[in-house]
Amino acid sequence: MDTITNPIIRVTQLTKAYPEFSLGPISFDLPSNSFMALLGPNGSGKTSIIKILARVRQRDSGGIAIFGKDYDLKHPQIKQEIGVFLDEHHFPDELMIHELRWILSGIYKNWQPDLFLSYMYKFVLPVYRKLNTFTPDMKLKLGLAVALSHQSRILLVDEPTDGYSPGIRDEIMTELQEFAQKEGNSVLFATHNPANLGKLTDRVAIINDGQFLITVETKQIQEDYVLVKFSPTLFDKLKPLMIGYAKTKHGFEGITQQPEEVKRIAASNTVVMTPATLSDLMRFFVKGVQ
């Protein structure tokens, strides 16, 4: 487990078993003022983590502490500080926004009606129309507005922009970025697509088959990992240095944390080395040897 002093969320040995899949045990910290991504293919367990933290699902075992306090079902007040933005909206379809706003204002003690209204104007959402007449884009924006309108300090986000146009994605990501930049706020963002993250994240945990494969600071990726393209003649020598590799049309490519050693072994042979990206990391950590 990577340890951070006074994390905003601390997850310890979290497990959850389904008939066909098991999550964990997983431990991680979400620091204050951070934007952390859970990156992994569909079915890897990232949605389960978000939903357990959002209290939509129950954990089997393990500890969750938020702001240093046990995340206890009997004390839901801690959820006043948590905004949840899931992949699909679950608002009552028969309501209108002004009715939904009134209901939520009585549930969230820090509800900010002016801020919520400003989002309605910003996203051009009609306040006096039933939600069942809204397009998926409008519902997505409403979900974000609700998550951001009660002075939450933590935002749990699960694949919100998947399947939406790049325009919507950018709009949503801009709002998330603004939220994350405010003092004391943190975002935990689950996605299967590294392109969704842009340059927002500080930390990324790559997850597969219910386990964390690696947790890395985003700014360290390019310093610590190198994508190497090399000819088949070097394969046997370089293979032990690769975290993962794949055969390509012209030879092999893989990622390594030992670029100097690769250079030394390659000697006069040609190898092409470029800083690894998040996509490279996900590809080789998740799929390993291809």
């Binding site: 939903k51 959002a54 209290r55 939509v56 699902r57 129950q58 079902l73 009997k74 839901p76 007040q77 801690i78 959820k79 006043q80 948590i82 949840v84 899931l86 699909e88 909206h89 679950h90 608002f91 009552p92 379809d93 028969e94 309501l95 009715e99 009134w102 209901i103 939520l104 009585g106 549930i107 969230y108 003690k109």
Partner: protein, 223 residues
């Protein structure tokens, strides 16, 4: 929690347009049956009004189910107790509304010569029938709704409601036809006051057991 109750009433107010014609049909049905007994009429009105309203209240489960509202409500700063209790409160509030409708319809029944006295309509008997029927109906139905949802169980619920609507007036009729000597020392030898206490106790126990069961089901639910 009370805002969740209000949320369901936003749904219900849109359904109320259907309930009024339903009651008018019920009145005509009573006329057609030529019910003249006060007890029979009262029982029929109470049960119909309450069950009708409760059926509509349970529609709110259907609305929630359609959009997986439970997944959203779990993210709100509410305890599971509060979430489950809100549904019980909706049913209670709806049945109070049913009781009020019954008073109105009861007077209408008097005006249209179904019975000769208005006293029976607004009486302790009416109140205890209301409390008993509401509790029993909700106590049976709500855990089923929490477990299986509205869409899968609506037919069973409607059938259960119809059975109650028909059985209650029949029982009232049977009671009414008992010879005077059989009732001299109270029904089955138990005084009316004690019957009220028993009915209320059964209703309260049923409501409590039902709530605990619903809570248990909700806690184990995978959303």
């Amino acid at each position: 929690m009370f805002r969740l109750v209000i949320k369901d009433f936003y749904f219900l107010q849109k359904k109320m347009l259907f309930i009024i014609p339903f009651y008018i049909i019920m009145l005509m049905f009573l006329k057609f049956l030529k019910m003249t007994s006060v007890a029979e009429t009262t029982a029929c009105l109470v049960v119909t009004c309450i069950i009708g309203i409760l059926l509509i209240a349970q529609n709110s489960f259907g609305f929630d189910e359609k959009v997986h509202f439970e997944a959203f409500v779990c993210t709100l700063p509410l305890t599971q107790n509060q979430i489950v209790a809100s549904k019980y409160l909706v049913c209670l509030a709806a049945s109070v509304f049913g009781l009020l409708c019954m008073f109105v319809l009861g007077y209408l029944a008097v005006l249209t010569s179904f019975s000769g006295t208005t006293a029976i309509v607004v009486s302790p008997t009416t109140f205890f029938i209301w409390a008993f029927m509401t509790s029993i109906f909700s106590a049976v139905i709500l855990p089923i709704l929490f477990k299986k949802g509205y869409m899968k169980t609506r037919m069973q619920i409607i059938i259960f409601a119809i059975v109650i609507v028909f059985v209650a007036p029949m029982l009232a009729n049977q009671y009414n036809t008992l010879p005077a000597e059989a009732l001299a020392n109270g029904f089955l030898g138990i005084s009316t006051t004690l019957w009220w206490v028993i009915l209320l106790a059964v209703a309260a126990i049923a409501a409590f057991v039902s709530f605990r069961k619903s809570l248990q089901i909700f806690q184990q639910k995978e959303l």
